[in-house]
C-alpha cells in the first residue's frame, strides 16, 4: 500500500526519464501458446536483460529489480499466474489454504518441498521470514506490510510494544503455518504472493549476521531456479534448481540476465540475437514494431498495473478551491496529451488501471472511469472558483509544477500543461525540475509544490493498492488530500469480504477523489511493449513483483 517504493519511483520517473523500466523487459502479458506441439531445443539457455538485486534476503528489499530475482529463486505460499487474461494466484509453497468462519485465521498446509541445500522447507521458515520483515531491528522498507495486510499485532511488534511471540504468525507443526489477522482482510490471499513473504532460513541468517543475503554462494533457494553466478553491474546467472519440487516441469536450464543501462545497446543486442527479449522506447519502439509486423519477432503489448497522475496540493494557493482544481482537471485532453508527450500509453480517467481485482471481480470491468462522464465547462468552473477566492484576473495566478530530473519527456510533459493552462485559463504555470530523484522525492514528500507529477504501481492484485495511497494518513498522499468520506470508504472496503459491496465502496471513493474533490489529475496508464524472438516461449511478465518469471520458459526452434 504505502509501498513498492522503487517501482513507484520508477513509474514517476516515467516523467523524468524513460529508460529504467523501458530498457528492460517490462511487458507483463503472457502469450497464448500451445506448448504441447513445440519441439524443445537441446540448448535451453536464454539471454535477457537483468537487474542488480539489492540483497538476496527478500525482507530488506523494496524494489522491483530485487523482486525479479526473488520471484525466480524463492517460492512463497502462493504465486501470481495469469489464466485466460485474468491475473490471479495459484498454490505454490502451500498445498491447501483453510480459514475459520470469520476469515481471521488462515491455515496453510505446506507442500513437501526442499531448499537447494537439501533441507526441508518448514513452517518455521515462514515464521522466521515474516517475523524478520516486521522486526524493527531488520529496519525493512516493507516493515509495515504485515500490518497493512492485517496481521495481528504486526504494528505493535514493529513499534517495539510487544515481542515476536505476540505476532499473529505461528508454526503449528513443521508443515502447518498459521496466520491470525486482527480483522478480516479482503485481499489477504492475493497479498501472500508478495515477494517479501517468501520463507527464509534462520540458521543461515544467524550464522551470517549482517552479511545474510549478500553472497549467493551462501544462500539456499526454494524456487524453480538458483542464482548460480552474480557480478553486480554485469549479470545474474540463473540455473535450474534440481531440488525444486516441480523440477521436472522446468525446461529452462540457464538464463543469463545482463545488466545493461543503455537502451540503445539493448535494442542492438536484441536485433543481433545476443538478447532474446527486449523492451524499447521512442524511435526504437517504432522500428521494432515495424520489424515485428513483418514477423521477424513477436511484439507483446499490455497494461502495466500502474497509473500516472498529477498531484494537486490542496493546501496551496488557488488549489485550495475545489472548483479551481476541477477546472484544471477537466482542461486536460488526455488523448491529445499522450499524442504530444509520449505517443504511447493509454489515457486515464480513473485511478485504477485495467485488470485489477477486487476480490473475485475485475474492478475496471465493473466500474466505468469516473472522469469520462463529466462534461462541465472548465472555463466556467475556473471563473467561479477564482471569484470565490476574490480573484478577478487569472493572469495574476501563478502555479509551479515540480518535476523529477529534466529530460525531454519531463520537459514535454510540463510544457504541455503550461500551454494548456495558459490557453484555457490564462494561468501561468512555472516549471521546476529537480537535480535528481532523491531530491525530487524529498521535495515531494514535504509537499513543496503546487502541482507535481507522480505515479503508483500496485504491490498486489487488489484495487486497494491504489486507493490506499490517498487516504489522509498515507505517506504517499503528497498532495495532502484529506476527505473523511474517502478515508471511510477505502478503510471499510479493505475489511469487507463481499466483492460486490467492495466494488461499490471503491466506486464512490474514486468518484469522490477525482470528480467531487479533484485532488488528482490522472493522466495515463502505462502500456507495455515487449519484444521476443519467435523461439522464446512461455515467458511470463508478472504484474506484481518483478519483471520476469522464468518458470514456464523454454526455447523452441532457435
Amino acid at each position: 500500500m504505502k509501498s513498492k517504493k522503487i517501482l513507484a519511483a520508477v513509474l514517476t520517473s516515467v516523467f523524468l526519464s524513460t529508460t529504467v523500466l523501458l530498457a528492460g523487459c517490462n511487458a507483463k502479458k503472457t502469450e497464448t501458446e500451445k506448448p504441447v506441439a513445440d519441439k524443445i531445443d537441446a540448448d535451453q539457455t536464454i539471454n535477457i536483460v537483468g537487474y542488480d538485486y539489492k540483497s538476496l534476503d527478500p525482507s530488506v528489499c523494496s524494489d522491483a529489480e530485487s523482486f525479479t530475482t526473488h520471484s525466480n529463486v524463492y517460492e512463497g505460499l502462493v504465486k501470481e499466474v495469469e489464466k485466460n487474461g485474468v491475473v490471479g494466484i495459484e498454490l505454490a509453497g502451500a498445498e491447501k489454504i483453510t480459514t475459520n468462519a470469520d476469515k481471521t485465521v488462515y491455515t496453510f498446509k505446506l507442500r513437501d518441498t526442499k531448499w537447494s541445500d537439501g533441507k526441508a522447507v518448514t513452517a518455521q521458515d515462514y515464521v522466521f521470514a515474516w517475523t524478520r520483515l516486521a522486526d524493527p531491528k531488520t529496519a525493512a522498507d516493507y516493515m509495515m506490510f504485515l500490518d497493512e495486510i492485517g496481521v495481528k499485532n504486526a504494528k505493535e511488534f514493529s513499534e517495539g510494544k510487544v515481542g515476536a511471540d505476540q505476532l499473529g504468525v505461528k508454526a503449528v507443526d513443521d508443515k502447518t503455518f498459521e496466520v491470525t489477522l486482527k480483522a478480516p482482510t479482503a485481499f489477504f490471499e492475493n497479498a501472500c504472493a508478495f515477494k517479501a513473504l517468501a520463507p527464509g532460513r534462520e540458521d543461515l541468517a544467524k550464522a551470517q549476521g549482517d552479511k545474510y543475503g549478500t553472497d549467493f554462494k551462501t544462500m539456499a533457494f526454494n524456487g524453480p531456479f538458483v542464482v548460480a553466478d552474480y557480478q553486480k553491474g554485469s549479470k545474474v546467472v540463473y540455473k535450474k534448481n534440481e531440488t525444486y519440487w516441480n523440477a521436472k516441469a522446468i525446461k529452462l536450464q540457464t538464463c543469463n540476465a545482463h545488466v545493461i543501462d543503455e537502451p540503445a545497446t539493448v535494442v542492438k543486442m536484441f536485433e543481433s540475437k545476443e538478447l532474446d527479449m527486449a523492451g524499447a522506447t521512442g524511435d526504437d519502439l517504432a522500428k521494432l514494431k515495424k520489424k515485428a509486423e513483418a514477423g521477424e519477432f513477436k511484439h507483446i503489448t499490455g497494461y502495466d498495473p500502474s497509473v500516472s497522475y498529477l498531484y494537486l496540493n490542496v493546501e496551496k494557493s488557488v488549489l485550495k478551491n475545489t472548483k479551481v482544481r476541477q477546472a484544471l482537471s477537466l482542461s486536460v485532453n488526455k488523448q491529445q496529451f499522450l499524442d504530444v508527450v509520449f505517443k504511447r500509453h493509454y489515457p486515464a480517467y480513473g485511478i485504477v488501471p485495467q485488470k485489477m481485482a477486487v476480490g473475485t471481480k475485475d474492478y475496471r470491468k465493473e466500474v466505468a472511469e469516473p472522469l469520462k462522464a463529466v462534461k462541465e465547462d472548465p472555463k466556467k468552473l475556473m471563473e467561479e472558483g477564482l471569484k470565490e477566492l476574490g480573484i478577478t484576473d487569472p493572469s495574476k495566478v501563478e502555479l509551479t509544477i515540480l518535476n523529477g530530473k529534466q529530460s525531454s519527456t519531463s520537459k514535454a510533459l510540463s510544457e504541455y500543461f503550461q500551454k494548456t493552462f495558459l490557453d484555457t485559463f490564462g494561468i501561468k504555470l512555472n516549471i521546476k525540475y529537480s537535480v535528481d530523484n532523491p531530491t525530487y522525492f524529498t521535495e515531494r514528500q514535504k509537499g513543496n509544490f503546487d502541482i507535481c507529477s507522480g505515479g503508483w504501481g500496485a504491490d498486489y492484485n487488489d484495487a486497494n493498492s491504489f486507493f490506499a495511497c490517498f487516504t489522509s494518513d498515507s505517506q504517499n498522499n503528497n498532495g495532502k488530500y484529506n476527505s473523511p468520506e474517502y478515508d471511510k470508504w477505502v478503510k471499510d472496503a479493505a475489511k469487507e469480504s463481499d466483492s460486490a459491496k467492495r466494488v461499490e465502496m471503491y466506486k464512490k471513493a474514486e468518484e469522490q477523489i477525482l470528480v467531487k474533490d479533484a485532488a488528482l489529475i490522472p493522466t495515463h496508464y502505462r502500456d507495455i511493449n515487449n519484444f521476443r524472438h519467435n523461439y522464446l516461449k512461455g515467458m511470463y511478465l508478472p504484474q506484481f513483483g518483478g519483471y520476469f518469471d522464468l518458470a514456464n520458459v523454454y526455447v523452441s526452434g532457435k
Binding site: K2, S3, K5, I6, A8, A9, D52, K54, S55, D57, V60, C61, S62, P136, K137, T138, A139, D141, M143, M144, K155, S158, E159, D210, K211, Y212, G213, T214, D229, Y230, Q231, K232, G233, S234, K235, H258, V259, I260, D261, E262, A264, T265, K268, M269, S272, E274, V435, D436, N437, P438, T439, Y440, F441, T442, E443, R444, Q445, S474, Q475, N476
Partner: protein, 316 residues
Amino acid sequence: MARYILKRVGLMFITLWVIATVTFCLINSVPGDPIGSKAKALSPTAEKAIRKKYKLDQPAYVRYADYMKNLATGDMGESIIFVGKSVNTIIKNEFPVSARIGLQAVIFGLVIGLSLGILAAFKRNTWIDYLVILIAILGVSIPGFVMAILLQYGLGGKLGLPTIGWESKTRFFTAFKYTVLPMLALSFGGIASNARFMKTSVLDVINQDYVMTAKAKGVAKIPLIFSHILRNALLPVITILGPRIAGIITGGIVIEQIFAIPGLGRELVSAIGNRDYTVIMSLTVFFAFLYVVSLLLVDIAYVLVDPRIKLENSKK
C-alpha cells in the same frame, strides 16, 4: 630520498583527510538522503527504524567522527542501499576489474600512442605524420563514450567480440575478448594525446645540441635514436603517466556503464544516484588514494630515470 618520501607520504594522508572531509560536507549538503532514494513513502515507524540502523538519526558531526574513526582502522563502512555489503568487499571484488581494464588501456595507449608519436616525428611532413595528426585530432575531439557506442555498433557481437559483459569468476584475469572493445574505447583519447605529446617531445630533443654532437662524433642511427633521442624524449611522458593511470581507472566510469563491466567506476555512479553515503565517501577516498599514490610514484620514477633531477631534501 627516504626523508622526502616520508614527508610525501605524510602529506598524502593530510590530502586524503581533506578530501574525505570535503566530500563528507558536500554529500551532506545535497538535498535528499539514502532514505529518500531507497524508499519513498515509508511509514514513520519503518523510517525511524531505518534511520536508527544507519545512524542517520544522528547529527552529521557524530557520523563524521564515526566514519573517520572507522576509516582510520581500514573499515570503509557498509552500503545503505545494498544491505549488508561492506565497501571493503565491494573494492575487493570490483577494483581488480577496473584495474584490468584501466591498466590494459594505459599500456595499449602508451605503446600505440608513443610509437605513432615517434613515427610522426621522424617522418615529419610525410603522409604518416598527417595521418597521426588526423588520429590525434579525432582522438581528442571524440569523447570516449561516443567511441564506445560506435565500437559497440560496429564490432559488438562480431569477430567473437561480445557487445557487453565480463567473466565474473576471474575478475582481473577475464578472457581477453571481453576487454577488447572497452580497451579501445578507453585508450583512444590516450593514444591521441600520447602521440601528440611524444611527437613534440621527440622534435624538441632532435634539435638539441647533444644530438648534433652525437651525430657529429659518428653515433650510428639506431643507437642515436634509442639512447640519445628517445631516452630523453620519454622523460616528459612520465609526467603525464601518473595522472593518466589514475584517471583511466576512474575515467572508466562511463565505459564501464556502457559495456556492463562490473567495476568501481560504475559502482560510484550508482552510489551517487542512490545517495549511498558510505559508498560515495569511501570510493572517493579510495580513488583519491590511487591518485596521490600514482603522483608520488611518478615523482620517484622521475628521479630514478633522470639523474639531473634532485629532490629537494637530498641535495644538502
